[in-house]
């Protein structure tokens, strides 16, 4: 695919010989991510004998599965050149709704549906304002970031909802076959769906076209605004899903839940090789990036690195990830 990010100038990779095609694979950003991931795993297995335990590994996915779900839809939004900073606040809003509805006696399936609906509606508010008034997405979602979480604060104050149906905690805490968390399975299924959607459908092609040149995309008959609206809606829907999983896993709803996740999600998307300016990126890259961050956090946790140091390390990684391709390109220029 032409739209994949490349570490080296494209002219190297577009020449036709077989040898060069193989070389092109090694220059792909996804390959670098695989190397980074392998390095982290090797480091982790030396750092702690518990790392390579299969139960431990699967368990660790729980700590990032919800964010990983958000990363999928956020990647699409960033590829079209937009951003959604309100996702974490949508989670707070949905979580609050789930908590309150549970006190009204809703069953677990009803709560899941309700959370997804609230998230979808919140996404529609974002998409609707952006498309109807042609306001930049960053402006709109900074606004709704405060708005959605604000609603949550008004309802909850410093209280929390923490009474749920008995089977509710199975969602976020349950395992398939006693080993694979349900959350992780949900993520894997969604990852496949999003990857196929982006790389194998006409909508995916339209998304790349929009990200590279929205005007030419519109002239080519792509319904640019319709696609934008639905991508923000889907992003809200994913936030709704993540919210119900997160609430189930934590077992409580507070207005400050998922605080700051939007930036972690954006950072993961960018590390996955999606250009922050839009137009390029791949789902495999973004999925690998989720594991890089997840395994790094897990490994640092195993060796008891404090949270604040973790933040510093992930920050450095992000700068490194963005700067490395640019530096390599600058150096390889004659």
């Amino acid at each position: 695919m032409s739209s994949l990010p490349r570490l080296f100038p494209a002219s190297d990779a577009t020449k036709g010989t077989e040898k060069m095609r193989i070389m092109a694979v090694f220059k792909r950003w996804e390959f670098i991510l695989v190397l980074i991931l392998a390095a982290i795993c090797v480091f982790n297995s030396f750092a702690s004998p518990y790392f390579l335990d299969l139960h431990n590994l699967f368990d660790s996915t729980q700590s990032f599965s919800e964010k990983a779900i958000l990363v999928l839809s956020m990647a699409l939004i960033i590829i079209i050149g937009d951003i959604d900073l309100s996702v974490a606040s949508i989670i707070a809003l949905c979580g609050t709704a789930v908590g309150w509805l549970a006190t009204q006696g809703m069953t677990t399936p009803q709560l899941v549906v309700a959370s997804v609906i609230v998230g979808t509606l919140a996404g529609m508010v974002n998409g609707g304002i952006i498309v109807r008034f042609q306001v930049p997405a960053i402006v709109v979602t900074i606004g709704t970031m405060s708005l959605f979480r604000g609603i949550s604060y008004i309802i909850l104050g410093d209280q929390a909802f923490s009474s749920f149906p008995d089977d509710f905690s199975d969602l976020g805490q349950g395992y398939l076959g006693g080993m694979i968390p349900y959350e992780f399975i949900v993520y894997l299924v969604l990852a496949v769906v999003f990857a196929v959607f982006l790389h194998r459908t006409t909508y995916g092609r339209s998304i790349f076209a929009m990200g590279n040149n929205p005007q030419a995309a519109m002239y080519s008959g792509i319904k640019v605004d319709t696609i934008r609206f639905w991508l923000f809606t889907v992003n809200g829907m994913m936030a709704g899903l993540a919210a119900v999983l997160f609430t189930s896993r934590i077992g409580a709803t507070r207005p400050n839940m998922a605080l700051g996740w939007e930036l972690e999600v954006v950072a993961t998307v960018v590390l996955g090789g999606v250009a922050i300016t839009g137009g390029s990126g791949t789902m495999p890259g973004v999925i690998l990036s989720v594991f890089v961050f997840g395994m790094l956090t897990f490994g640092l946790g195993l060796v008891n690195v404090p949270g604040i140091i973790m933040t510093i390390i992930t920050g450095c990684m992000l700068i490194g990830a963005i700067a490395t391709p640019i530096i390599v390109r600058k150096l390889s220029r004659p």
């Binding site: 459908t201 006409t202 092609r205 790349f208 076209a209 519109m218 008959g221 792509i222």
Partner: protein, 520 residues
Amino acid sequence: MIMNTADQDKNPVLALQGIKKHFGGVKALDGVTLNLYAGQVVALVGENGAGKSTAVKIMTGIFRPDAGTILINGEAVSLHSTQDAWKNGVTAVHQETVMFDDLSVAENIFMGHLENRRGGLLDWAGMNRRAAQILLELESDIRADMLLNNLSVAQKHMVEIARALSHDSKVVIMDEPTAALSQQEIQELYKIIRRLQAAGKAILYISHKFDEIFAIADRYTVFRDGCFVGEGRIADVNEDELVRLMVGRSVRQLFPKPTVTIGGPVLEVQGLGNDREFEDISFTLHKGEVLGFYGLVGAGRTELMEALFGLKPVTHGAILRNGTPMAHGSPRAVIDQGIVYVPEDRQHSGVILPMSIRNNLTLPSIRALATGIFLNNAKEKALSQQFRERLSIKCANLDQKVSDLSGGNQQKVVIGKWLATRPDIIVLDEPTKGIDVGSKSAVHAFIGDLVKQGLSVIMVSSELPEVMGMADRIIVMHQGRIARSFDRATFSAEAIVAAATGLFARSSQEGAHAQTSSAA
């Protein structure tokens, strides 16, 4: 090398000697020579890809040559940046204005070399005064404190020229300065060039338009495929000889419009208007017809076509397709009716530069090619291969990015992606703007092929010879309205230009004067 006495006693103000520049494996310049003399206008001509822009970028310090020397007043210099070029008295007026819309005229003029007062604060009063003085010298009525946003394209050009003058430059480079100007504005530009010339500046004038070259230049230099092929005095050559130097063969600028039987109406526009840019537009397009739209820049032609294509709302009027009212709410709806639009701005609206040739070619027909919502690679490959051959797009393979192609080949990709939707009506907005002579006649031949196959063509063009050569009928627009329409039998350059400028009374005098060379 220079044989006539008038130039022999003069040394060039700026000279390029044996300049070479490579990009990867591609030779952009292979030992070119260029001499610019004080008080003379040198026209640099060559097809697209001949290396003109690269030479300009070397003279303005944007690129550094791999080999060769740049002499200024006989001394070798090396230019590392635009600032270096300015210090050496070299400035450029670019094809597309590179300016800051939200800043004032004075700020634009002094951007990059703002002047300080003692103490490090900016000397706005002084800069405004100097800007006003330069504009006065140019006999322009633009005020230094005006916001650039509020100026017309021609006025912005004037500001660019003022910026060049603010550097106290010896050499002024003009890269296709007339691309966005109307006939009248071009005459204004000529006056400015004459004034610069009288002030002893050396001027390099780059243009595709021969009537301009013969009107303004004293000397010419020709590049072909990155090589220097000749120079001399304009008075010693004619158009044919210059074209032969450019393309290495003799190309007649003829327009291969075949005779086609014109059928019934396929598109009727009745009283269309949007209360702002165009009003009261009615015309009928027939099967197999080339309908030309001529007018000055800003006459509303592009806006009308965008409305027709569903990109702009329309407040009144109707569009009939084969006799029935047509939905024109979005480009998709219009495309589905068999009408496509090749926009004027190729790089912003036509192609998606970072995507592959294949993906560009199939983009508008992607839904027709898909199985459900899933892409069908085999069909995409077949279709893009077919149009690569049909349009003879020159590329290594279809996975190449469109940005790697030359302007002419990019234009072929745009036309190809639209033909791939199998349209009945194709609207071409300035289809040959900024492309070289060879590609131009290829586009013209292609338009001929299209109407022979029964398509109908609407061609918006600001080039009178082109529109007169290709169209069966010409509709002339002026200030958003149809000024006049002409049948092929009644085409007259003078009358068309007169209608376009709105000067009916003075038509015979002015029109004849402005158009003699291009109408020939």
